[in-house]
């Protein structure tokens, strides 16, 4: 049990980071703070992927330019796995793009309701429905 944890210690910490992000999303009613929590959650997923791809004793997956040009690459060289790097690289840029869409929604909500706390929003919606007589 302890050995399982010791060999996967970084995954355990990344799970805790994910829990921190999830807690920040649920425990606050402020929409901006929720998006911050969401981005902490997102970063923990990135960290999970990247730490899976780590190989001990490995180098970043970039060849030496001269070795490549003269066809003298060391066949026994160890590199970390490049595939998760590619997936996460694009995910980060898409992540900031979606974050900005979320923030734009929050700005619109603030303009329409004058608040970004979710219980105030729920009350405003409720009184609006009462006025309509639903």
């Amino acid at each position: 049990m302890l050995e399982v944890l010791a060999e996967r210690f970084n995954y355990a910490v990344i799970i805790v980071l994910m829990m921190v992000g999830l807690y920040a999303v649920i425990a606050t009613g402020n929409l901006v703070k929720r998006l911050v929590g969401l981005s902490i959650f997102q970063t923990s997923v990135f960290l999970l992927y990247i730490s899976v791809s780590k190989v001990f004793g490995g180098a970043p997956p970039i060849f030496d330019y001269k070795d490549l040009a003269y066809d003298k690459l060391d066949p026994n060289a160890i590199y970390s796995n490049p595939l998760p790097h590619v997936l996460i690289l694009t995910a980060i840029v898409v992540g900031v793009a979606t974050l900005s869409v979320g923030l734009a929604l929050v700005v619109r909500i603030r303009e329409a309701y004058g608040s970004i706390e979710d219980d105030t929003l729920a009350e405003a919606d409720y009184s609006l429905e009462l006025e309509k007589g639903v």
Binding site: I62, Y65, T90, I92, V96, L103, A104
Partner: protein
């Protein structure tokens, strides 16, 4: 409105050209070192954002009109997809870069394709980031400066 911060203005004037040059270095050196279209796009956008933060949004709009950002957003995706269609027309599969150049052993066709595709990525990412920044900064904040 001119910012009263002389030091910030002078430092920014030195830094912004360097940031832009670094952005293009990251872009075109992306095959040899860490970098590529995504990173370079963000670095270039941050140069415009720094300009807007220090010299004001209206000055930044003169340097990089929102119209460019709107066109560039779509243009980048268009460049990327058209590289794929060109490779189709030249007899390969969609986004198969080897057809661009007969020298397959040294991967010259691949190099051409990767550079062309990364230009598309760079255009879209830069313009989207600048457009998003303009969108947020263009709204007049309800909080007045005295409140800060």
């Amino acid at each position: 409105m001119m910012s009263p911060h002389v030091i910030l203005r002078v430092v920014a004037k030195v830094l912004i050209p360097l940031i832009i040059v670094y952005g293009f270095y990251v872009h075109f050196h992306g095959e040899y070192s860490p970098g590529g279209g995504f990173q370079a796009g963000v670095v270039l956008a941050s140069a415009i954002i720094l300009y807007a933060l220090i010299f004001g949004l209206d000055e930044a709009r003169k340097v990089f009109p929102p119209y460019w950002a709107r066109v560039g957003m779509a243009l980048g995706g268009f460049i990327y997809a058209s590289v794929g269609f060109v490779s189709l027309i030249m007899g390969g599969k969609f986004l198969e870069y080897t057809v661009f150049h007969p020298d397959v052993a040294h991967g010259t066709g691949q190099h051409i394709g990767i550079i062309a595709v990364e230009v598309g990525v760079l255009t879209t990412v830069t313009c989207v980031m600048i457009a998003i920044f303009y969108a947020f900064a263009g709204r007049t904040p309800e909080i007045s400066d005295e409140d800060w």
